[in-house]
Symmetry: C2
Protein backbone atom coordinates (compact mmCIF):
# COMPACT_ATOMS: atom_id res chain seq x y z
CA UNK A 1 0.00 0.00 0.00
CA UNK A 2 3.01 2.25 0.19
CA UNK A 3 3.60 3.86 -3.15
CA UNK A 4 5.61 6.62 -4.73
CA UNK A 5 2.83 9.19 -4.51
CA UNK A 6 2.40 8.59 -0.78
CA UNK A 7 6.14 8.62 -0.25
CA UNK A 8 6.44 11.91 -2.13
CA UNK A 9 3.79 13.54 0.04
CA UNK A 10 5.06 12.06 3.30
CA UNK A 11 8.54 13.28 2.47
CA UNK A 12 7.54 16.92 1.87
CA UNK A 13 9.76 19.62 3.29
CA UNK A 14 9.78 23.22 2.08
CA UNK A 15 13.13 23.93 0.42
CA UNK A 16 14.79 27.31 0.82
CA UNK A 17 18.14 26.65 -0.87
CA UNK A 18 18.47 25.85 -4.55
CA UNK A 19 21.21 24.86 -6.96
CA UNK A 20 21.99 27.17 -9.86
CA UNK A 21 20.76 24.51 -12.27
CA UNK A 22 17.92 25.63 -14.54
CA UNK A 23 14.64 23.81 -14.70
CA UNK A 24 14.03 21.90 -17.94
CA UNK A 25 11.04 23.00 -20.04
CA UNK A 26 9.82 19.43 -20.04
CA UNK A 27 9.65 19.37 -16.24
CA UNK A 28 7.91 22.73 -16.10
CA UNK A 29 5.30 21.41 -18.46
CA UNK A 30 4.77 18.27 -16.42
CA UNK A 31 4.34 20.34 -13.26
CA UNK A 32 1.76 22.68 -14.78
CA UNK A 33 -0.10 19.87 -16.51
CA UNK A 34 -0.35 17.97 -13.23
CA UNK A 35 -1.70 21.16 -11.66
CA UNK A 36 -4.19 21.58 -14.46
CA UNK A 37 -5.55 18.06 -13.95
CA UNK A 38 -6.57 18.79 -10.32
CA UNK A 39 -10.30 18.70 -9.53
CA UNK A 40 -11.95 22.05 -10.14
CA UNK A 41 -15.11 24.01 -9.52
CA UNK A 42 -14.89 26.04 -12.75
CA UNK A 43 -11.16 26.36 -13.57
CA UNK A 44 -11.15 29.83 -12.05
CA UNK A 45 -7.39 30.10 -11.90
CA UNK A 46 -4.27 31.06 -13.83
CA UNK A 47 -0.53 30.66 -13.39
CA UNK A 48 2.07 33.30 -14.15
CA UNK A 49 5.62 32.03 -14.53
CA UNK A 50 8.94 33.83 -14.14
CA UNK A 51 12.20 32.10 -14.97
CA UNK A 52 15.86 32.74 -14.37
CA UNK A 53 15.32 36.09 -12.70
CA UNK A 54 17.79 37.07 -10.02
CA UNK A 55 14.99 38.41 -7.85
CA UNK A 56 13.31 35.04 -7.39
CA UNK A 57 13.41 34.14 -3.69
CA UNK A 58 16.03 31.61 -2.56
CA UNK A 59 17.67 32.02 -5.98
CA UNK A 60 15.36 29.36 -7.36
CA UNK A 61 15.18 29.05 -11.14
CA UNK A 62 11.39 29.29 -11.42
CA UNK A 63 8.67 31.25 -9.66
CA UNK A 64 4.99 30.52 -10.23
CA UNK A 65 2.25 32.89 -9.13
CA UNK A 66 -1.04 31.08 -8.79
CA UNK A 67 -4.05 33.35 -9.17
CA UNK A 68 -7.78 33.15 -8.67
CA UNK A 69 -9.08 34.16 -12.09
CA UNK A 70 -12.63 35.33 -12.77
CA UNK A 71 -11.49 37.33 -15.80
CA UNK A 72 -11.40 34.25 -18.02
CA UNK A 73 -14.80 33.15 -16.77
CA UNK A 74 -16.17 36.56 -17.74
CA UNK A 75 -14.57 36.34 -21.19
CA UNK A 76 -16.23 32.98 -21.81
CA UNK A 77 -19.58 34.10 -20.49
CA UNK A 78 -19.38 37.29 -22.58
CA UNK A 79 -18.90 35.12 -25.63
CA UNK A 80 -22.11 33.30 -24.75
CA UNK A 81 -23.97 36.55 -23.97
CA UNK A 82 -24.09 35.89 -20.26
CA UNK A 83 -23.09 38.11 -17.38
CA UNK A 84 -21.57 36.90 -14.12
CA UNK A 85 -24.10 37.71 -11.38
CA UNK A 86 -22.61 35.68 -8.53
CA UNK A 87 -21.32 37.91 -5.77
CA UNK A 88 -17.54 38.33 -5.51
CA UNK A 89 -17.30 36.71 -2.08
CA UNK A 90 -18.83 33.43 -3.21
CA UNK A 91 -16.72 33.51 -6.37
CA UNK A 92 -13.64 34.00 -4.22
CA UNK A 93 -14.48 31.11 -1.90
CA UNK A 94 -14.76 28.77 -4.88
CA UNK A 95 -11.98 30.34 -6.93
CA UNK A 96 -9.44 30.02 -4.13
CA UNK A 97 -10.17 26.31 -4.08
CA UNK A 98 -9.54 26.01 -7.82
CA UNK A 99 -6.24 27.84 -7.43
CA UNK A 100 -5.16 25.93 -4.32
CA UNK A 101 -5.90 22.43 -5.61
CA UNK A 102 -3.96 23.24 -8.76
CA UNK A 103 -1.07 24.69 -6.73
CA UNK A 104 -0.82 21.65 -4.49
CA UNK A 105 -0.74 19.29 -7.48
CA UNK A 106 2.15 21.37 -8.81
CA UNK A 107 4.00 20.91 -5.51
CA UNK A 108 3.58 17.15 -5.57
CA UNK A 109 4.45 16.88 -9.26
CA UNK A 110 7.68 18.82 -8.72
CA UNK A 111 8.66 16.89 -5.62
CA UNK A 112 7.91 13.56 -7.30
CA UNK A 113 10.59 14.45 -9.86
CA UNK A 114 13.16 15.17 -7.15
CA UNK A 115 12.68 18.94 -7.21
CA UNK A 116 12.25 21.19 -4.19
CA UNK A 117 9.42 23.66 -3.68
CA UNK A 118 8.43 26.40 -1.29
CA UNK A 119 5.16 28.31 -1.12
CA UNK A 120 5.31 32.04 -0.49
CA UNK A 121 2.18 33.27 1.24
CA UNK A 122 2.95 36.94 0.73
CA UNK A 123 0.60 37.62 -2.22
CA UNK A 124 -2.40 37.75 0.13
CA UNK A 125 -0.85 40.99 1.41
CA UNK A 126 1.13 42.18 -1.61
CA UNK A 127 -1.40 41.43 -4.33
CA UNK A 128 -1.47 45.02 -5.56
CA UNK A 129 2.24 44.95 -6.39
CA UNK A 130 1.85 41.69 -8.28
CA UNK A 131 -1.16 43.04 -10.12
CA UNK A 132 0.98 45.86 -11.40
CA UNK A 133 4.04 43.72 -12.10
CA UNK A 134 2.21 41.06 -14.09
CA UNK A 135 -0.45 43.40 -15.54
CA UNK A 136 -3.23 41.35 -14.00
CA UNK A 137 -6.67 42.43 -15.19
CA UNK A 138 -9.58 43.14 -12.90
CA UNK A 139 -10.90 40.06 -11.08
CA UNK A 140 -7.58 38.24 -10.94
CA UNK A 141 -6.23 37.77 -7.42
CA UNK A 142 -2.72 36.38 -6.91
CA UNK A 143 -3.21 33.92 -4.06
CA UNK A 144 0.16 32.30 -3.52
CA UNK A 145 3.59 31.98 -5.11
CA UNK A 146 5.62 28.82 -5.52
CA UNK A 147 9.34 28.53 -6.13
CA UNK A 148 10.63 25.33 -7.74
CA UNK A 149 14.14 24.13 -8.45
CA UNK A 150 16.83 21.61 -7.69
CA UNK A 151 17.25 21.44 -3.91
CA UNK A 152 20.57 22.40 -2.36
CA UNK A 153 19.53 21.34 1.14
CA UNK A 154 18.02 18.22 2.64
CA UNK A 155 16.26 19.26 5.84
CA UNK A 156 14.47 16.83 8.15
CA UNK A 157 10.70 16.43 8.09
CA UNK A 158 8.93 19.14 10.03
CA UNK A 159 6.39 18.27 12.74
CA UNK A 160 2.62 18.28 12.37
CA UNK A 161 -0.24 18.16 14.86
CA UNK A 162 -0.95 14.75 16.40
CA UNK A 163 -3.54 12.94 14.31
CA UNK A 164 -6.14 13.22 17.07
CA UNK A 165 -5.77 17.02 16.99
CA UNK A 166 -6.57 17.06 13.28
CA UNK A 167 -9.07 14.29 12.52
CA UNK A 168 -12.36 14.03 14.39
CA UNK A 169 -15.06 11.43 13.95
CA UNK A 170 -18.73 12.41 13.77
CA UNK A 171 -18.35 15.62 15.73
CA UNK A 172 -15.93 18.33 16.75
CA UNK A 173 -14.54 17.62 20.22
CA UNK A 174 -14.07 19.73 23.32
CA UNK A 175 -10.32 19.82 23.78
CA UNK A 176 -8.84 19.29 27.21
CA UNK A 177 -5.89 21.45 28.20
CA UNK A 178 -3.76 18.31 28.02
CA UNK A 179 -4.71 17.68 24.41
CA UNK A 180 -3.93 21.24 23.40
CA UNK A 181 -0.61 21.12 25.24
CA UNK A 182 0.32 17.76 23.72
CA UNK A 183 -0.16 19.28 20.26
CA UNK A 184 1.88 22.34 21.23
CA UNK A 185 4.68 20.22 22.62
CA UNK A 186 4.92 18.07 19.53
CA UNK A 187 5.18 21.13 17.33
CA UNK A 188 7.61 23.02 19.54
CA UNK A 189 9.94 20.09 20.11
CA UNK A 190 9.94 19.19 16.45
CA UNK A 191 11.07 22.63 15.33
CA UNK A 192 13.55 23.01 18.19
CA UNK A 193 15.12 19.66 17.30
CA UNK A 194 15.93 21.04 13.87
CA UNK A 195 16.97 24.44 15.23
CA UNK A 196 14.53 25.65 12.59
CA UNK A 197 13.97 29.25 13.65
CA UNK A 198 17.63 29.92 14.43
CA UNK A 199 18.71 28.63 11.02
CA UNK A 200 16.16 30.87 9.31
CA UNK A 201 16.79 33.69 11.80
CA UNK A 202 13.03 34.03 11.78
CA UNK A 203 12.18 35.23 15.29
CA UNK A 204 9.33 37.75 15.21
CA UNK A 205 10.08 40.62 17.56
CA UNK A 206 7.71 41.77 20.27
CA UNK A 207 6.10 45.06 19.34
CA UNK A 208 7.00 47.83 21.72
CA UNK A 209 8.90 45.52 24.06
CA UNK A 210 12.27 46.58 25.39
CA UNK A 211 13.18 43.06 26.38
CA UNK A 212 12.49 39.66 24.99
CA UNK A 213 12.85 36.66 27.28
CA UNK A 214 13.02 34.26 24.38
CA UNK A 215 16.17 33.17 22.58
CA UNK A 216 16.58 30.59 19.84
CA UNK A 217 17.09 28.09 22.66
CA UNK A 218 13.36 28.13 23.44
CA UNK A 219 11.63 30.12 20.67
CA UNK A 220 9.60 27.69 18.65
CA UNK A 221 6.40 27.17 16.68
CA UNK A 222 3.69 28.09 19.17
CA UNK A 223 5.54 31.25 20.20
CA UNK A 224 6.09 32.07 16.54
CA UNK A 225 2.45 31.72 15.51
CA UNK A 226 1.37 33.62 18.64
CA UNK A 227 3.59 36.55 17.75
CA UNK A 228 2.37 36.43 14.16
CA UNK A 229 -1.40 36.20 14.60
CA UNK A 230 -1.20 38.13 17.87
CA UNK A 231 0.55 41.14 16.30
CA UNK A 232 0.10 41.18 12.53
CA UNK A 233 -2.63 42.19 10.11
CA UNK A 234 -5.05 43.60 12.63
CA UNK A 235 -6.51 46.06 10.16
CA UNK A 236 -9.45 44.60 8.30
CA UNK A 237 -9.79 47.60 5.99
CA UNK A 238 -6.39 47.08 4.42
CA UNK A 239 -7.20 43.48 3.49
CA UNK A 240 -10.55 44.53 2.02
CA UNK A 241 -8.74 47.23 0.11
CA UNK A 242 -6.22 44.74 -1.33
CA UNK A 243 -9.02 42.51 -2.58
CA UNK A 244 -10.94 45.51 -3.88
CA UNK A 245 -7.92 46.71 -5.85
CA UNK A 246 -7.92 43.31 -7.58
CA UNK A 247 -11.61 43.69 -8.42
CA UNK A 248 -13.13 41.61 -5.63
CA UNK A 249 -15.76 43.61 -3.78
CA UNK A 250 -16.69 41.37 -0.92
CA UNK A 251 -18.55 43.71 1.38
CA UNK A 252 -20.64 45.88 -0.91
CA UNK A 253 -21.77 45.14 -4.41
CA UNK A 254 -19.90 47.17 -6.97
CA UNK A 255 -21.81 49.98 -8.61
Amino acid sequence: MENEALRTMMNHRSIRKYKEEKLEEEKIEKIVKAGRQAPFVSQMCSVIMEKDDENIPFEAPVLFTICVDIHKLKKIMDDRDWKVVTNDLTLLLFGIQDAAYLAQNMVIAAESMGLGTCYLGSPVRTAKNLKEKYELPDKVFPLVQLVVGYPAEDPPLRPRYPLDFLLFEEEYPDFSDEEVEAAMEKMDHGFLDEDYYRKLDAMISLKGAEEDDFTYEDYSWTEHISRKWGQWYEDLESQKEILGACGFHICEDED
Copy 2:
Protein backbone atom coordinates in the same frame (compact mmCIF):
# COMPACT_ATOMS: atom_id res chain seq x y z
CA MET B 1 10.57 11.28 -15.57
CA GLU B 2 7.13 9.70 -15.55
CA ASN B 3 6.38 8.35 -12.14
CA GLU B 4 3.50 7.03 -10.11
CA ALA B 5 2.70 10.36 -8.47
CA LEU B 6 2.45 12.08 -11.85
CA ARG B 7 0.42 9.22 -13.27
CA THR B 8 -1.96 9.38 -10.30
CA MET B 9 -2.54 13.09 -10.82
CA MET B 10 -2.80 12.90 -14.60
CA ASN B 11 -5.35 10.12 -14.25
CA HIS B 12 -7.70 12.03 -11.93
CA ARG B 13 -11.42 11.79 -12.58
CA SER B 14 -14.09 12.56 -9.99
CA ILE B 15 -15.91 9.35 -9.11
CA ARG B 16 -19.64 9.38 -8.45
CA LYS B 17 -20.34 5.65 -8.12
CA TYR B 18 -18.88 3.51 -5.37
CA LYS B 19 -18.81 -0.14 -4.40
CA GLU B 20 -20.35 -1.17 -1.11
CA GLU B 21 -16.92 -2.16 0.16
CA LYS B 22 -15.84 -0.39 3.33
CA LEU B 23 -12.64 1.58 3.54
CA GLU B 24 -9.93 0.01 5.71
CA GLU B 25 -8.79 1.98 8.77
CA GLU B 26 -5.23 1.68 7.56
CA LYS B 27 -6.08 3.43 4.28
CA ILE B 28 -8.03 6.15 6.03
CA GLU B 29 -5.02 6.82 8.21
CA LYS B 30 -2.68 6.99 5.22
CA ILE B 31 -5.00 9.45 3.49
CA VAL B 32 -5.25 11.79 6.46
CA LYS B 33 -1.55 11.56 7.26
CA ALA B 34 -0.70 12.46 3.66
CA GLY B 35 -3.08 15.41 4.02
CA ARG B 36 -1.44 16.44 7.26
CA GLN B 37 1.99 16.50 5.65
CA ALA B 38 0.98 19.16 3.10
CA PRO B 39 2.70 22.55 3.33
CA PHE B 40 0.92 24.88 5.71
CA VAL B 41 0.72 28.48 6.83
CA SER B 42 -0.23 27.66 10.43
CA GLN B 43 -2.14 24.34 10.32
CA MET B 44 -5.42 26.25 10.48
CA CYS B 45 -7.57 23.31 9.51
CA SER B 46 -9.41 20.26 10.78
CA VAL B 47 -11.06 17.20 9.26
CA ILE B 48 -14.36 15.68 10.38
CA MET B 49 -14.97 12.12 9.24
CA GLU B 50 -18.22 10.21 8.81
CA LYS B 51 -18.20 6.53 7.94
CA ASP B 52 -20.71 4.00 6.75
CA ASP B 53 -23.63 6.39 6.88
CA GLU B 54 -26.37 5.85 4.34
CA ASN B 55 -26.65 9.58 3.78
CA ILE B 56 -23.15 9.94 2.37
CA PRO B 57 -23.42 11.09 -1.27
CA PHE B 58 -22.93 8.48 -4.00
CA GLU B 59 -23.22 5.83 -1.27
CA ALA B 60 -19.50 6.18 -0.64
CA PRO B 61 -18.17 4.60 2.56
CA VAL B 62 -16.40 7.69 3.89
CA LEU B 63 -17.11 11.41 3.90
CA PHE B 64 -14.52 13.93 5.05
CA THR B 65 -15.41 17.54 5.81
CA ILE B 66 -12.33 19.74 5.59
CA CYS B 67 -12.63 22.89 7.67
CA VAL B 68 -10.72 26.12 8.09
CA ASP B 69 -10.03 26.10 11.83
CA ILE B 70 -9.04 29.18 13.84
CA HIS B 71 -10.48 27.68 17.02
CA LYS B 72 -7.41 25.51 17.60
CA LEU B 73 -5.13 28.48 16.94
CA LYS B 74 -7.01 30.45 19.60
CA LYS B 75 -6.73 27.57 22.06
CA ILE B 76 -2.97 27.44 21.59
CA MET B 77 -2.55 31.19 21.80
CA ASP B 78 -4.76 31.29 24.92
CA ASP B 79 -2.42 28.80 26.51
CA ARG B 80 0.48 31.17 25.79
CA ASP B 81 -1.50 34.23 26.98
CA TRP B 82 -1.83 35.66 23.52
CA LYS B 83 -4.91 36.88 21.71
CA VAL B 84 -5.52 36.58 17.97
CA VAL B 85 -5.63 40.14 16.60
CA THR B 86 -5.45 39.37 12.88
CA ASN B 87 -8.64 40.29 11.12
CA ASP B 88 -10.95 37.45 10.10
CA LEU B 89 -10.61 38.10 6.38
CA THR B 90 -6.84 37.69 6.35
CA LEU B 91 -7.16 34.62 8.58
CA LEU B 92 -9.65 33.17 6.14
CA LEU B 93 -7.43 33.81 3.10
CA PHE B 94 -4.59 31.90 4.75
CA GLY B 95 -6.75 29.30 6.49
CA ILE B 96 -8.48 28.29 3.27
CA GLN B 97 -5.05 27.57 1.83
CA ASP B 98 -4.16 25.33 4.78
CA ALA B 99 -7.42 23.44 4.37
CA ALA B 100 -7.20 23.16 0.57
CA TYR B 101 -3.58 21.95 0.39
CA LEU B 102 -4.42 19.29 2.96
CA ALA B 103 -7.58 18.30 1.07
CA GLN B 104 -5.76 17.94 -2.23
CA ASN B 105 -3.08 15.73 -0.66
CA MET B 106 -5.91 13.54 0.63
CA VAL B 107 -7.31 13.24 -2.91
CA ILE B 108 -3.97 12.18 -4.35
CA ALA B 109 -3.24 9.79 -1.48
CA ALA B 110 -6.59 8.07 -1.97
CA GLU B 111 -6.28 7.87 -5.75
CA SER B 112 -2.72 6.56 -5.51
CA MET B 113 -4.14 3.58 -3.61
CA GLY B 114 -6.72 2.88 -6.31
CA LEU B 115 -9.57 4.63 -4.53
CA GLY B 116 -12.01 7.09 -6.06
CA THR B 117 -12.76 10.55 -4.73
CA CYS B 118 -15.15 13.41 -5.35
CA TYR B 119 -15.15 16.88 -3.84
CA LEU B 120 -18.47 18.39 -2.83
CA GLY B 121 -18.37 22.17 -2.99
CA SER B 122 -21.65 22.66 -1.19
CA PRO B 123 -20.27 23.59 2.27
CA VAL B 124 -19.49 27.11 1.06
CA ARG B 125 -23.27 27.57 0.92
CA THR B 126 -24.47 25.06 3.55
CA ALA B 127 -21.88 25.73 6.24
CA LYS B 128 -24.51 26.58 8.85
CA ASN B 129 -26.09 23.12 8.59
CA LEU B 130 -22.71 21.45 8.92
CA LYS B 131 -21.82 23.66 11.87
CA GLU B 132 -24.90 22.36 13.64
CA LYS B 133 -24.48 18.76 12.55
CA TYR B 134 -20.85 18.45 13.61
CA GLU B 135 -21.08 20.88 16.54
CA LEU B 136 -18.40 23.08 15.06
CA PRO B 137 -17.26 25.82 17.43
CA ASP B 138 -16.99 29.45 16.50
CA LYS B 139 -14.25 30.20 13.94
CA VAL B 140 -14.44 26.85 12.19
CA PHE B 141 -15.64 27.06 8.60
CA PRO B 142 -16.39 23.87 6.64
CA LEU B 143 -14.83 24.60 3.25
CA VAL B 144 -15.31 21.44 1.24
CA GLN B 145 -16.35 17.81 1.58
CA LEU B 146 -14.65 14.80 0.06
CA VAL B 147 -16.12 11.35 -0.49
CA VAL B 148 -13.71 8.44 -0.79
CA GLY B 149 -14.28 4.78 -1.60
CA TYR B 150 -13.74 1.95 -4.04
CA PRO B 151 -14.78 3.18 -7.49
CA ALA B 152 -17.64 1.46 -9.28
CA GLU B 153 -17.16 3.42 -12.50
CA ASP B 154 -14.20 4.17 -14.74
CA PRO B 155 -15.03 7.37 -16.61
CA PRO B 156 -12.70 8.95 -19.18
CA LEU B 157 -10.48 11.89 -18.34
CA ARG B 158 -12.33 15.19 -18.40
CA PRO B 159 -11.04 18.10 -20.46
CA ARG B 160 -9.08 21.06 -19.17
CA TYR B 161 -8.20 24.46 -20.64
CA PRO B 162 -5.41 24.45 -23.24
CA LEU B 163 -2.08 25.03 -21.52
CA ASP B 164 -1.73 28.46 -23.13
CA PHE B 165 -5.03 29.53 -21.54
CA LEU B 166 -3.70 28.61 -18.09
CA LEU B 167 0.03 29.35 -17.97
CA PHE B 168 1.42 32.76 -18.85
CA GLU B 169 5.02 33.86 -18.89
CA GLU B 170 6.09 37.17 -17.36
CA GLU B 171 2.74 38.87 -17.78
CA TYR B 172 -0.97 38.30 -18.13
CA PRO B 173 -1.98 38.37 -21.81
CA ASP B 174 -4.77 40.07 -23.71
CA PHE B 175 -6.82 37.20 -25.06
CA SER B 176 -8.00 37.27 -28.63
CA ASP B 177 -11.53 36.04 -29.33
CA GLU B 178 -9.94 33.05 -31.07
CA GLU B 179 -8.02 32.06 -27.96
CA VAL B 180 -11.09 32.28 -25.78
CA GLU B 181 -13.11 30.28 -28.27
CA ALA B 182 -10.42 27.63 -28.63
CA ALA B 183 -10.53 27.12 -24.87
CA MET B 184 -14.34 26.96 -24.92
CA GLU B 185 -14.35 24.46 -27.75
CA LYS B 186 -11.89 22.14 -26.06
CA MET B 187 -13.99 22.11 -22.90
CA ASP B 188 -17.34 21.74 -24.65
CA HIS B 189 -16.22 18.99 -27.00
CA GLY B 190 -14.55 17.09 -24.21
CA PHE B 191 -17.66 16.95 -22.07
CA LEU B 192 -19.95 16.25 -25.03
CA ASP B 193 -17.73 13.36 -26.08
CA GLU B 194 -18.40 11.72 -22.73
CA ASP B 195 -22.07 12.70 -22.73
CA TYR B 196 -21.19 14.02 -19.29
CA TYR B 197 -24.16 16.24 -18.52
CA ARG B 198 -26.74 13.80 -19.86
CA LYS B 199 -25.34 10.98 -17.73
CA LEU B 200 -25.47 13.18 -14.63
CA ASP B 201 -28.75 14.76 -15.74
CA ALA B 202 -27.15 17.99 -14.63
CA MET B 203 -28.63 20.62 -16.94
CA ILE B 204 -29.26 23.86 -15.07
CA SER B 205 -32.60 25.30 -16.08
CA LEU B 206 -33.08 28.84 -17.31
CA LYS B 207 -34.76 30.98 -14.70
CA GLY B 208 -38.10 32.30 -15.84
CA ALA B 209 -37.76 30.88 -19.34
CA GLU B 210 -40.64 29.06 -20.92
CA GLU B 211 -38.46 27.43 -23.51
CA ASP B 212 -34.93 26.15 -23.58
CA ASP B 213 -33.23 25.72 -26.90
CA PHE B 214 -30.58 23.46 -25.44
CA THR B 215 -30.79 19.69 -25.18
CA TYR B 216 -28.17 17.23 -24.01
CA GLU B 217 -27.08 17.12 -27.64
CA ASP B 218 -25.45 20.54 -27.33
CA TYR B 219 -25.53 21.50 -23.64
CA SER B 220 -21.95 21.44 -22.40
CA TRP B 221 -19.42 23.04 -20.09
CA THR B 222 -19.47 26.69 -21.14
CA GLU B 223 -23.27 26.75 -21.17
CA HIS B 224 -23.28 25.03 -17.79
CA ILE B 225 -20.91 27.47 -16.11
CA SER B 226 -22.73 30.40 -17.74
CA ARG B 227 -26.06 29.27 -16.28
CA LYS B 228 -24.42 28.69 -12.92
CA TRP B 229 -22.46 31.91 -12.41
CA GLY B 230 -25.00 33.84 -14.48
CA GLN B 231 -27.96 32.85 -12.28
CA TRP B 232 -26.79 31.61 -8.88
CA TYR B 233 -25.63 33.20 -5.64
CA GLU B 234 -26.24 36.80 -6.60
CA ASP B 235 -26.91 37.84 -3.04
CA LEU B 236 -23.74 38.94 -1.28
CA GLU B 237 -25.46 39.35 2.08
CA SER B 238 -26.33 35.67 2.35
CA GLN B 239 -22.70 34.62 1.83
CA LYS B 240 -21.52 37.14 4.42
CA GLU B 241 -24.16 35.82 6.76
CA ILE B 242 -23.00 32.22 6.30
CA LEU B 243 -19.42 33.17 7.14
CA GLY B 244 -20.61 35.30 10.05
CA ALA B 245 -22.60 32.40 11.49
CA CYS B 246 -19.33 30.42 11.54
CA GLY B 247 -17.59 33.26 13.38
CA PHE B 248 -15.84 34.93 10.46
CA HIS B 249 -16.66 38.64 10.39
CA ILE B 250 -15.05 39.80 7.21
CA CYS B 251 -16.67 43.18 6.69
CA GLU B 252 -16.83 44.74 10.10
CA ASP B 253 -14.75 43.91 13.14
CA GLU B 254 -16.71 41.99 15.71
CA ASP B 255 -17.71 43.93 18.81
